[in-house]
Subunit: 309 residues, 2 copies
């Protein structure tokens, strides 16, 4: 096999009380990636979109991932990576993770499935670190495995695939820029033990609620009094969006990644549509451009082969 | 019905990364309690053990619970509470919770099952607060419901019953006194966000591991770098006990409640026995008296009726 096409899903990380560990994959948007084996021992990047991402493989998330894999595999060939991104860089829904994971899964196919999924997470992290500046697997993990994942540890990697019930996701992406570094710097270095306890009780309950399919408990567990209060001011209309969404039946939600996207979870597809309308109404009164997405929780992670032909 | 006998189980709270929220009930030890309806509108306490607990109902954990229930039920009668405690007060395995919950469940039977289990938790908390000085449901919840429970919130009460696989518990109770107030005072008021994140990732993974019956993940999740380092110095030989236990195959464990008891979890009954020997060996070299317990995770909470006749 000399060529493979894959779809790499967007993902939500920092799921409310699951800051820095809990994430899930989205059915849409996704990036379309084609990887070709080439005889030159190099990585060639072709961007088929308007985002102007670097074509120098050392400065490109997918490029870094591919270089790491070629080196590890001691390959005597190279790759041409052609990408049509639909996940806007900087949107907070795992754009760089999709590039890195799409590249990793596609390359693994062309390398004869040499590596395990956990190894692919490692390779994708080699790319992702270029975008985020640190070794965070909370978008990479759901992008590789699909569904809900919990990163128990990054070093060594320990990723838990969670059971979960049907859930529908509404996302609004206000078209403003938030720098990940700034969103990190705004966080408290220390937190009151009492707030930390409240947060881990909520995350434990959230994991139990997902496993049981208990939507009421899920809604009650979607609380965060540590990260959300610090980052909320960075997101225009955050409180209004959240209030309006829950007002029409959303279970809850919060900032996706480090923003600016905001996600809400619903039990029913129709509720997720109502949430989209409610979010739209909030932003319709402003001059901030925005985009919304409706999605299920994606299963399977990066999909390759016949599904995407 | 004018008389009922119940067994109230011991329980482990502060389960490693589940400080202040996660607990489980033990098959042994347990308290034996008989409650009788009496015509006087009062609560009479009879202690059939050597612990010398107060017989003034206002100063007795079970007495407070019973007074609260009689008042809420607007009863024109009273209770005689006769208790043979096998759970030593101050051992860190939920002695006061057993008294309060045993009283609550027995009284509810004599009141015609007037109250729900969640209401019984509330009544038991009215007693438990006398012993602990604060409203903590992490022993009361497993004692009422059995199994593993997660207290998501104390106000309002929100208790999650967790699924869990077969587990065997070994407990060593060094016969020293630790005051709950002192064990609280030793805790940091603030914790680094990084440690808090590590802890909630571990608790989320622990809940997932219990639900999946994944013993390997369970073992990896039993980590606590916040409370254990602060309280470890209060427990003689803590590090040695932990190391020896894991050395013979325990999955992990830690301080039970605020100590001095230490608990370890094992996948197999024989391992739990080996852990008991290993713990005993550690303390055999000292002049500290100790007692050990072997137990399964108890199901059902306070048991009443034919089981205990």
């Amino acid at each position: 096999m000399d060529e493979i096409s894959v779809r790499a899903p967007a993902s939500v990380s920092n799921v409310v009380c699951g800051f820095d560990c809990l994430g899930f994959a989205l059915e849409r948007p996704f990036d379309e990636i084609t990887l070709r084996r080439i005889s030159e021992r190099t990585v060639r990047i072709i961007n088929r979109d308007q985002f102007g991402l670097p074509t120098d493989p050392e400065r490109n998330v997918a490029g870094r991932t591919l270089l790491a894999m070629l080196e590890a595999a001691n390959a005597d060939f190279g790759f041409e990576f052609e990408s049509t991104k639909h996940i806007k860089p900087g949107s907070g829904i795992g754009s760089s993770a999709a590039s890195a994971c799409g590249a990793a899964v596609a390359a693994n196919r062309l390398l004869g499935e040499k590596y395990s999924q956990m190894e692919l997470v490692e390779f994708a992290l080699a790319g992702e670190i270029l975008a985020s500046g640190s070794r965070h697997a909370d978008n990479v993990a759901p992008c590789i495995f699909g569904g809900f994942t919990l990163v128990r540890s990054t070093d060594p990697l320990d990723i838990v695939q969670l059971d979960f019930p049907p859930l529908f996701v509404t996302i609004i992406h206000p078209q403003i820029e938030i720098k990940t570094a700034e969103a990190r710097a705004i966080l408290p270095k220390e937190v009151p033990l009492k707030s930390a306890v409240q947060n881990w009780a909520n995350l434990g309950s959230l994991v139990a609620a997902l496993a049981k399919g208990d939507y009421g408990l899920l809604a009650r567990s979607l609380e965060d009094e540590i990260v959300e209060p610090a980052r909320r001011p960075l997101i225009p209309n955050f409180d209004k969006v959240k209030e309006a969404s829950i007002g029409v039946g959303a279970l809850g939600g919060g900032i996706s990644g480090s923003g600016p996207s905001v996600f809400m979870l619903s039990e029913a597809a129709e509720t997720a549509q109502d949430v989209e309308k409610a979010m739209t109404n909030v932003f319709a009164d402003t001059d901030i451009e925005f985009k919304t997405y409706l999605s299920g929780v994606q299963i399977g992670g990066v999909l390759c082969g016949p599904q995407v032909q």
